[in-house]
Assembly symmetry: C2
Homo-oligomer: 298 residues x 2
């Protein structure tokens, strides 16, 4: 492989950059970054790779193109690069929601080329190239999307590429992907944002200084609610059908909880509070989290 082009060099893009460079899987890594602030940061950090100013020069010479921008940028960039694309090129992205972007890609991408979507389940509440790290994908899942028109050769290539990045890979279709992540990721983020918002509303109304007592629970949610707003707006909008359904299920269960509490339904509430523990045990068994109490904070 001669040239890999990373479009958008924030947390994800710069982590890929570092890892690709470390693994020496290409001769050159080209970086296209729109934000002037990030361009300067990348220079200062002396990250590997060559920053290119124009996509028009970089795209035609790239063997692999990886979109690491917010999903709302895809359309604009596709329309700009369409005429420089070649069917041999492998194109992928790292977006967290798939059905809507597949639609945008289908509608806008020039027909002769294929796009094979990826979703590395790795991220953080921080964003920007300064937070990227080569081991971001280590032992994390990377979901590869296989729909009716997927180019199987490209899929096979990307499967091996993500394994080199340190990921465990799994293949599923866009529909299943968006359903699963509406529950394991999109709803949790929305809930975290909503909890912090509710705490702010309460603080304003009661004029109590709440935040200093956040160690009892709120602080864990505040981490997730500090995630990048553009990325999360895009996810909520793009996966709104599944997210809406997830909200409905959540509200239904919460109202049932409220009823249990108000009517002091001992058996019903204990059953729920015990059941949920099983998920934690499973998460730790699957090494999706540390087993240290309190995340090993102390």
């Amino acid at each position: 492989m001669k040239n890999i082009l990373i479009i958008g060099c924030g947390l994800l893009g710069s982590s890929l950059l570092r890892k690709i460079s470390q693994k020496k899987i290409t001769k050159n890594i080209l970086i296209y970054e729109k934000s002037k602030k990030n361009v300067t940061k990348i220079k200062k950090l002396k990250l590997p790779g060559i920053q290119v100013k124009k996509l028009e020069y970089a795209v035609p010479i790239s063997d692999l193109i990886i979109f690491c921008t917010p999903m709302s940028e895809y359309k604009k960039i596709i329309l700009r690069i369409n005429k420089y694309l070649d069917p041999k090129q492998i194109i992928t992205d790292v977006g967290s929601s798939k059905l809507k972007s597949a639609e945008i890609i289908k509608k806008n991408l020039i027909k002769k080329v294929s796009w094979t979507s990826s979703h590395p389940v790795a991220g953080s509440e921080v964003s920007g190239p300064e937070y990227g790290k080569a081991n971001l994908f280590e032992n994390k899942w990377c979901v590869l999307i296989k729909d009716k028109k997927t180019n199987l050769r490209h899929l096979k290539f990307l499967n091996s590429f993500w394994k080199k990045m340190g990921s465990k890979t799994v293949i599923m279709n866009s529909e299943k992907h968006d359903k699963i992540f509406s529950i394991t990721s999109h709803l949790p983020h929305l809930i975290a944002y909503n909890l912090v918002k509710s705490a702010q509303d309460f603080e304003k109304k009661q004029k109590y200084d709440l935040v200093k007592y956040s160690a009892g629970g709120l602080r864990d949610f505040s981490r997730i609610a500090a995630s990048n707003e553009i990325m999360w707006r895009d996810i909520f909008f793009d996966n709104r059908k599944n997210v809406s359904k997830a909200i409905d299920l959540f509200v239904k269960n919460l109202i049932a909880f409220k009823k249990d509490i108000n009517l002091r339904q001992n058996k019903s509430i204990l059953k729920k509070l015990i059941q949920t523990k099983k998920v934690r045990s499973k998460i730790i068994k699957l090494r999706q989290d540390t087993n240290k109490p309190d995340f090993g904070r102390n």
Copy 2:
């Protein structure tokens, strides 16, 4: 001080035990623990202090009595020890909800003695004496309750006692306490339980294996949802008035979020997603959490 009696020796009780012993602030520490499993654990762990089999022997000789049991045990224990109590004795507890237990205490505790309530804002998803540690209270808030009939001498003593335990202390009344913690602690726990329950419901219905993809958000909630069920049932029941109100505010905000998502209200949603970041910065500034991305997990 000659004797301190700890009633209930789980995570909190055994942490107090360790710290009291380390600071040498009493001649003897007496422990009353009901659960045979914990009695054996305490022996095996060779924790400091003397395990007593009967409250009737320990209570009359104790200068300070600390209730570290679930709040639903208070009434039964109070009725058992009432006749052995003396006005000179200082009695406190570590319960997370105050109005309801104040009512139970007022109704059942013999009139001549006073009870001065404490709430060390320290805990974890794990429970049992094996997880206790001397530094559990280090730099954590301990709320001391001051209501109309509070014994100021006892309050002063406890203020100094909790500082010796490593806590920062703050004094407020039961009503304010229960309002604040309904938002910073009780609602977050309920939400976490409810999110994990919703994920379980979804998994059952869709027959997807969700949990392995929990690193995208769900896993953080699962930590909180693994907390002790008896303790949390008691808190939800005891503080149900405030928790109910908190649920209503939360649901109202969530429905507004859903509307923003479905109608693609760009400005409104971005405003919310940006606003909530401020809380995270404040939490970190107040040293209520680590500033390491992803809790420093990796």
